[in-house]
């Protein structure tokens, strides 16, 4: 317990002794984590919108005249990417047509016998699942035609993949940059106390005792940077939501408080963990080298 108190005291001494560097690290960590959070939020929203559109995509399968869709229905039902499947009888299809035509519904009677075939309405989990499904459907001899939004599906898949790729790249870059900044700040702090650490090792201080203030310093800087980033993101996102609602109301962006809270907590934890890991790595390297007998 006493060691913990000494470590906390030394942590604040370290932060105060290099206050300029500490503030610089805090701002850099905050900026990088803000970019990281912003990119991730953007990617999450793109993913959310794509999945909303994907959820509404329907593949319509029209059977040949007189053919029933039982075999196709049975096959599609076993496909794990399919979320719903519904068989539409010619009668139901006619009713729908009548409803659509409204005042001109009587024109349907001119057709005489119901010319509409059996059909299936299929929904899948993601846009990219549609093309393979269609490929499976067209081989059925009883299937006359398969209708789906081919171009839209392809574009959605491309957007989804590209946004995921860009986000992942920015994410990796941001993590590397903030890790390097924190790592170097701790290294400078270590070198400023080099003499002190060497004496401590010679008089019998353990590696843990020596490392703790530096590890705490790294954690505080990482977590502090993350906290600033979260505050900035919160403000930016709130105004972005308001702007989207007033100008592009058809865009379905994430407003679920629980999801956003989880996201911000994750960002905070990322900052703290990154600070802890970088400082631990820096101090561990130094003490291991210093402890090695010559």
């Amino acid at each position: 317990m006493a060691s913990f108190k000494y470590a906390l005291r030394d942590t604040f001494r370290l932060i105060c002794r290099h206050w300029g560097l500490s503030i610089l690290t805090l701002i850099t960590a905050a900026s990088v984590l803000y970019i990281l959070g912003f990119t991730a939020l953007f990617a999450l929203n793109v993913r959310h919108m794509v999945s909303q559109i994907e959820g509404g995509l329907v593949v319509q399968v029209y059977m040949k005249k007189g053919e029933k869709p039982d075999d196709v229905y049975g096959k599609v039902k076993t496909n794990p990417t399919v979320t719903s499947i519904r068989a539409i009888s010619p009668e139901e299809a006619l009713d729908r047509l009548r409803a659509k035509l409204g005042n001109q519904a009587r024109a349907v009677t001119l057709m005489g016998e119901n010319p509409l075939p059996w059909s299936l309405e299929i929904q899948v989990q993601r846009a990219e699942h549609i093309t393979p499904l269609v490929r499976d459907l067209v081989v059925f001899p009883s299937v006359e035609e398969v209708i789906y939004s081919g171009k839209l599906v392809e574009r959605l898949s491309t957007i989804s993949r590209a946004s995921a790729g860009v986000s992942a790249t920015i994410l990796v870059l941001a993590v590397i940059i903030s890790a390097l900044v924190i790592f170097n700040t701790i290294r400078i702090a270590i070198y400023s106390r080099k003499e002190e650490i060497e004496v401590m090792l010679l008089i019998g201080a353990t590696k843990t005792y020596i490392s703790l203030p530096f590890v705490f310093q790294g954690m505080f800087l990482g977590a502090g940077g993350a906290l600033l980033a979260v505050a900035g993101l919160w403000a930016t996102y709130a105004s972005a939501v308001n702007a989207v609602r007033s100008t592009l109301a058809f865009l379905d962006i994430i407003v679920n408080q629980q999801i956003l809270l989880q996201f911000f907590l994750l960002l905070f934890a990322t900052g703290a963990t990154m600070g802890w890991m970088c400082s631990w790595l820096a101090v561990s390297r130094f003490t291991s080298r210093a402890l090695r007998p010559r």
């Binding site: 006493a2 060691s3 008089i203 019998g204 201080a205 590696k207 007998p293």
Partner: protein
């Protein structure tokens, strides 16, 4: 704790032999002077005992601890039992006398109240009570030396190693330091002092071990600095 060196050789890169085939046995509670010219291997011997260095050949045993086999995890606990006064003091210039002594005890996880009492006690013993809030640059050489001694004795070690503790000090201050070392020894601590100080060695005669070019030249119970007739 007793100290045993068996066939200890230390060679530094590329090919500098600092110590060669040293056999030495120091019993618990002994006071030993290590003498010899500059470069004779005195500091190397002390650093081998504090386990800053590892011998190239041979074994060093302190108490029941073989220093070659001691792991990194146990090394801090061994070092807590060995008080070292470094040739260049190694005091931290931005800390006060009190803080320089206290931080040794803090590093061992001792509660603040105990640290305060013990640090004040040893500072008083070395006669620096009135200077405890000054920083090393504000002290004289002799006072800095006494801070280094206070720091080394703060955790009551079983072995006390002092490298040139009276170097560059006037005679009166050297005698004060010497009396301090003798009082530490009187409390049962094994004391090894590497020195060039002929006057002190002859005035306070104790066991004397002389090194010459890394080899053990002389080991006498109550030796004088120079052998009769030698200058």
């Amino acid at each position: 704790m007793d100290i045993r060196l068996a066939g200890v050789t230390k060679v530094f890169e590329p090919d500098i032999v600092a110590l060669e085939d040293i056999y030495l046995s120091i019993d618990k509670g002994e006071f030993v002077y290590l003498v010899g010219t500059t470069g004779s291997g005195k500091t190397t011997l002390l650093r081998l005992i504090s386990r800053e260095y590892l011998p190239t050949r041979g074994q060093i045993t302190v108490g029941d601890v073989n220093l070659r086999k001691i792991g990194r995890g146990r090394l801090p606990f061994y070092r807590r039992d060995v008080g070292v006064v470094f040739q260049d003091y190694k005091l931290l210039p931005n800390l006060t006398v009190f803080e320089n002594v206290a931080f040794v005890l803090e590093a061992m996880g001792i509660p603040p109240r105990v640290v305060q009492n013990r640090a004040n006690e040893v500072i008083d013993q070395v006669g620096l009570w009135r200077r405890r809030f000054l920083k090393p640059p504000q002290l004289s050489g002799g006072e800095q030396q006494r801070v280094a001694i206070a720091r080394a004795m703060a955790n009551s070690p079983s072995i006390f190693l002092a490298d040139e503790p009276t170097g560059n000090l006037d005679l009166r201050t050297s005698e004060e330091i010497m009396r301090l070392l003798l009082s530490i020894n009187a409390a049962g601590t094994t004391v090894l002092v590497a020195t060039h100080d002929q006057y002190l060695v002859d005035a306070y005669r104790q066991r004397l071990v002389e090194l010459h070019n890394g080899r053990l030249k002389r080991d006498e119970r109550r030796g004088r600095y120079f052998i009769d007739g030698e200058l």
